[in-house]
């Protein structure tokens, strides 16, 4: 699971409002870095579409990109260096094994071999 997908995922338990259950906390047991080719158009689109709050939470949980802690949001005109770093954290960092934890209910979703299992038990649907 790359951080780009984590940025989208939300806890899907019945009864939560749209703002709750996001962003999921990451407890990573195994993290891998797999190089990927840089695509400028894709990254520019990501700057517009990514949630900064979700990204910051993920980076904090993984303990990377300390220098972005102080930033309030995506820069208005991102520099090439910023895009390269963004490419690295969004597309090259893979959480292979671990757990995603809902910040509202504490429900944990396991991640195994890079695939998070978001399926609810029948009494939570």
């Amino acid at each position: 699971m790359r951080l780009v997908t984590h940025n989208l995922l939300r806890c899907n338990i019945r009864g939560l409002t749209e703002e709750q259950g996001y962003p999921l906390r990451i407890q990573a047991d195994k993290v891998e870095t797999i190089p990927a080719p840089f695509n400028g158009d894709l990254l520019q689109g990501m700057v517009r579409k990514m949630s900064w709050q979700g990204l910051q939470s993920a980076l904090r949980d993984l303990g990377v990109m300390e220098e972005w802690r102080a930033m309030e949001g995506f820069p208005e005109t991102p520099s090439d260096e910023f895009l390269q770093q963004l490419h690295h954290v969004l597309f090259e960092v893979h959480v292979q094994d671990g757990t995603l934890v809902c910040p509202t209910t504490g429900r944990s979703f396991p991640v195994k071999d890079g695939i998070p299992n978001m399926l609810l038990h029948e009494d939570e649907v």
């Binding site: 699971m1 790359r2 780009v4 997908t5 940025n7 989208l8 995922l9 939300r10 899907n12 338990i13 019945r14 939560l16 749209e18 996001y22 962003p23 990927a36 080719p37 695509n39 400028g40 158009d41 894709l42 689109g45 579409k49 949630s51 979700g54 597309f91 071999d113 890079g114 695939i115 998070p116 299992n117 978001m118 399926l119 609810l120 038990h121 029948e122 009494d123 649907v125």
Partner: protein
């Protein structure tokens, strides 16, 4: 290399397969390159059996090529609407490099030629080309081009010529005096003489006709395109490491990707990713894919229906190599036998980036993602329609219990059947929510032969753009449906969708709501005898059916005659009728 003052016309030859998809794919790729099909002048080709209106044919004058009232868009829509199959298209185009790019990406474009002449018969073509030969040949006779190798290929489309016959035809064009050497292998200038016998069966095959064909003929210079042949060979399902029973045909995945204009840098979503067959095509084109599925077996690789032989042979070959290198055989054989084969094996084998996969329930899409309108650029998917694989969603209808806390960690969640109508309607709503404005959705849906557009599901935010048909059996086929998000998602639009969904699921809807019932009737085992099921047969199977009917009727007549009294002449007539069938 311009053929100087004569008009820049091209003739495109389509692949003789996936016929209903060819125009949609070509138009989409034209638009992807930034061209508008409504502004490209096109020519109705000389084909007395093809188009109903002979006055639609405008003789092509290479010296005055703009004199045609038709455009690529108008001709292709005329052909589609009247269900006319035509393998060639002549049009005017200014950017040869863009055409090469389009041809290299289109599955259904076989060749594109720069047109040097097109006439109703071979002798007329020779005269027309001779008339223009000075202008056509001008740049090739320049000193800087005198080294270029050349060849003239002769192709009968719907007829095969022998080598001597080809040479006779070729000789008529010997006035085209290319200065360079002849090269048959990979010439710089690849001229092609095409004689088009596809238009009708009225052309008699004879030696005289082969010497001077009375069919429409083209002379053109073939553009140096490589097409998708090598790409399709690489991704062929026949050699794919991980397959499932519903992995989509590799050619169709690329056709679908082309129909919606996928390009590098886009982000796509596949709500029924399964074995990832569609994602392979998208990843090849540089699209980043997020895929989800509710079934862990298909994601983890336990549903393996692929090449046992290739995997076992690959393992054996690896073991052999290790033995030969005298490595630690035991450790490495163990590694080979533990090698997992799952959805990511395909991407590693093909050296493509893996998609991000999530195990989730597409029915609860809205709850899985943060509120995100305008995220995905494109959605390409093949939903489970319940014919070969059913769909499931999470939860239980009658769940009135709580799972005890100490059992929760390894509880396997129950799932329930996910009715097909709900699958399709949820898909449309998910697409309407998460696509960018103007973004396309393409999906496959099985249909019967009395299909109309009313049979398709609808959504207030999505407009129907394209429907292409693939025949599967005499009683059903499937259609690829392209829809585009034309309105932003809003509570008001969502409310209309909810009301429509209610009508469909309660059986009140007359369009999409009836489709499942029609399909069930068409695919029932008794459907062959059922006259209410609309059937379609190919020409040769229709002839066989007629022959069988005649035989059965003759046998019945014979039996009824013999039960009453023996009537020799009737019996003889019946027997003769039976043998003649």
């Amino acid at each position: 290399m311009s053929e100087s003052v004569v008009g820049q016309l091209y003739v495109l030859q389509f692949l003789d397969d996936w016929v209903d998809f060819r125009y949609a794919e070509f138009l989409a790729l034209l638009k992807l390159e930034g061209f508008q099909p409504e502004l490209l002048t096109a020519y109705v080709i000389h084909d007395p059996n093809g188009l109903a209106d002979p006055s639609a044919y405008v003789p092509i004058d290479l010296r005055n090529p703009s004199a045609s009232p038709h455009t690529v868009a108008s001709i292709l829509s005329y052909l589609r609407h009247n269900k006319i199959v035509q393998h060639f298209l002549i049009f005017s185009f200014s950017d040869e490099a863009a055409l090469v790019r389009i041809a290299n990406r289109a599955v259904l474009v076989k060749n594109i030629y720069r047109l040097w002449g097109h006439e109703a018969s071979f002798p007329a073509l020779v005269d027309a080309v001779r008339h223009n030969s000075a202008e056509l040949m001008e740049s090739y006779l320049q000193p800087e081009n005198s080294h270029l190798s050349w060849s003239v290929e002769v192709v009968g489309f719907g007829r095969s010529f022998t080598m001597p016959e080809k040479q006779v035809l070729r000789t008529h064009f010997s006035f085209l005096q290319f200065p360079g050497p002849v090269s048959l292998r990979s010439p710089d200038i690849e001229m092609c003489l095409l004689c088009d016998y596809s238009a009708g069966s009225s052309y008699t095959k004879s030696k005289e006709d082969n010497a001077a064909p009375s069919v429409p003929c083209y002379l053109g210079r073939r553009l140096p395109t490589v097409g998708m042949r090598d790409v399709l060979k690489k991704y062929s399902l026949k050699t794919r490491p991980y397959l499932g029973p519903t992995s989509l045909d590799d050619a169709l995945t690329f056709i679908l990707a082309n129909m919606v204009g996928c390009k590098s840098g886009m982000v796509s979503y596949e709500p029924f990713v399964g074995t990832g067959s569609i994602v392979v095509a998208l990843a090849h084109l540089g699209v980043f894919c997020v895929g989800s599925d509710i079934d862990p077996r298909v994601l983890r690789g336990e549903m393996y229906a692929g090449q046992e032989d290739t995997v076992i042979q690959a393992k054996k070959k690896r073991q052999q190599q290790y033995k030969e290198l005298k490595q630690n055989v035991h450790a490495l054989i163990k590694e080979g036998s533990n090698m997992p084969v799952d959805i990511c094996t395909n991407f590693r084998t093909y050296d493509l980036p893996t998609p991000d996969l999530v195990r989730m329930d597409a029915h609860l899409f809205g709850r899985h993602f943060r509120p995100m309108d305008n995220f995905f650029d494109v959605i390409v998917t093949d939903p489970p329609y319940g014919i070969r694989a059913g769909a499931r969603k999470s939860g239980r209808r009658d769940c009135d219990y709580q799972i005890p806390a100490d059992r929760r960690h390894d509880h396997i969640p129950s799932t329930q059947t996910y009715p097909v109508e709900e699958v399709m309607l949820d898909l449309l709503d998910n697409a309407a929510r998460s696509l960018v404005l103007g973004g396309p959705l393409v999906y496959l849906i099985p249909t019967t032969y009395d299909f109309t557009e009313q049979d398709l599901p609808r959504h207030p935010c999505l407009a129907l753009e394209e429907v292409c048909h693939q025949e599967l059996s005499s009683r059903h086929g499937r259609r690829a449906v392209v829809m585009r998000k034309t309105k932003a998602w809003s509570e008001e639009n969502h409310q209309k969708y909810v009301e429509y969904k209610q009508r469909v699921l309660s059986g009140e809807d007359e369009g999409f709501g009836r489709l499942t019932a029609k399909l069930e009737a068409a695919l029932a085992t008794t459907a062959f005898q059922d006259d209410s099921v609309v059937k379609q047969f190919s020409n040769c199977s229709q002839r066989r059916r007629n022959a069988k009917e005649r035989r059965m009727e003759a046998a019945k007549a014979c039996r009824s005659e013999s039960t009453t009294a023996s009537n020799p002449s009737a019996a003889a007539a019946a027997a003769a009728g039976g043998e003649g069938a």
